[in-house]
Assembly symmetry: C2
Homo-oligomer: 359 residues x 2
Amino acid sequence: MMEHRFVRQNANEAMDTTELRVSADDLRGLATKILRSVGTSQADATVVANSLVRANLLGHDSHGVRRLTGYVEEARAGRIDPTAGPKAETTRPGTVVVHGRRAFGQVAAEHAVRELRQVVAAQGSGVAAIRECNHVGRLGEYVGTLAEHDLVALAFGNADPTVAPYGGRERRLGTNPLAWAVPRGTGSPPVVMDWATSGVAEGKLAVARGRGEQVASGLLLDADGRVSTEPADFYGGGALLPFGGHKGYGLSVLIEVVGGLLSATGIGSLPGYTGGFGTVLVAFDIRAFTSAEDFREQTELFCRELAHTGPAEGHREVLVPGELEERVRLERGRNGIPISEDTWHELHALLPPKEEREP
Amino acid sequence: MMEHRFVRQNANEAMDTTELRVSADDLRGLATKILRSVGTSQADATVVANSLVRANLLGHDSHGVRRLTGYVEEARAGRIDPTAGPKAETTRPGTVVVHGRRAFGQVAAEHAVRELRQVVAAQGSGVAAIRECNHVGRLGEYVGTLAEHDLVALAFGNADPTVAPYGGRERRLGTNPLAWAVPRGTGSPPVVMDWATSGVAEGKLAVARGRGEQVASGLLLDADGRVSTEPADFYGGGALLPFGGHKGYGLSVLIEVVGGLLSATGIGSLPGYTGGFGTVLVAFDIRAFTSAEDFREQTELFCRELAHTGPAEGHREVLVPGELEERVRLERGRNGIPISEDTWHELHALLPPKEEREP
């Protein structure tokens, strides 16, 4: 077991942050305990804990264990039902509706992945939409799993409106993420693309605000529709901006409509929106078109060629989608996952009194 | 019939351009004649001519009739076979491979749309990949047609390498377009998103170069990997850049791999690439998840809400994906399609001597 060490970081900066390095196993254990304490079965608690800690391992701390505070709150308020079991309904040979029944989003999404694999095994292609779906964590996790079975997999979803349309000032769209994965050569993790269609994720803005930092221009508007670099302006009635101008905006509109309506979650800024995450997964079998071995081999060669591209001015290297995450995973696997002292205390405060443990 | 009028434009600019306004009918007639003259059947010539003129009508002149010069050249060189008929092979219940057999790309893509509709009618979802595929024109056309039948439709494809990976300087990726469409309310054309994953299409760069104009920063690199605003630097061994930084780059990598390998076209920058356009279409039936009427109605409401969003500073209005094209279509439907004198002469020069007609 990795020793829990508090490390004082940024000693020369205005704000001290104290950081602990926790092993993935320990963090999974803590997360499982917290989830069990709100009535989650051991099996489902393991699914959710694994998913959250995997996000931490890959460096996506905004989608990691710090989400447990919100999850526990939602479970206590009845918006998450930790005891619910998702049910699948195959509506056509190539389509499946997964009724999440307010289970943890990760549990519903894992169920959808299993169902979708069966549909694609039989038909060569398939689509799954999840209803009554809570926060699923990283979409990249689910497309990555599907890609490991020689499938091309896409996933997207809508969420509460925080993003202005291109040219506009009001919140109309969610951060509406898109993920896409394919397998690489044996021994390499899949190529995984996974990002929000907003220029910045709200979680990162919250971090910048906490630190009193500005963000780059082009990421948000203030309440008067002016470009701002001040995170507080978003929380003061402003809006996030889509990435990539009208292109990212277009993608977000399509995700809003398809994710929202096929999942029966609704469009975030229209009446009838039920809240939650309108998640859709699409997969198709590489072997219906070509040899999976050839596909993997060519993709591997291409990834290596990309990585060997000479850098442009101002850059040091070219990364393949998913490669940065893989590097962080190796480092955090060795040295543990950095958890701030605040988060550590917050997580322990979620445990019932008899379970509270602090280092 | 609309009168052909040459209009002298930009009289105060360094370069005079003389412009004709031609009706869509006349332009289709001319395009059909040109296509017939290289041995294309009346039916196929109509498909290709309609597709090209529709691109002109929507304002995408880079994908319009000016492509005929290249098409005729490729037909004469044997890279396009104007007499070939595409064949479909249903490899799994939900997947189809369309053998384009070097027919015009539009003919192959229209065949793929028909086949995909049948697959989706039976299975609820489906995927089509086109082999031996020439330039298909606007991907938006095919997803728009599928959307008119109450399907969610995506299309993407790879092409010759002209784009550098994010952080790199060498050409490794095609301009790899992505299109996505869904139906709107009755009477409204579908919501259609259709763009290159490069910051700028090569065709627009060629136009800027011809006019001696600079382009915005962030669109291209010179041969030494430095950001440039000079279109000539691209043609001098530079590279286009992906839109939206690492996000657009990730999307382009996935399109390159999936479009290239599932179509057997290959990855543009690897040995074995056959040239051409590795095109993949994905569609699924809205009615497998919700009522098509509800979907259309909600999408229509959302589009109207988007259009009524208050503008951000520096903007006048918010457009829905596909709305700009619709406006241009209405204007060009009334006033004719602007064709430069040069293009007009070029097109007539493609006709066999006895067919040559000039105004």
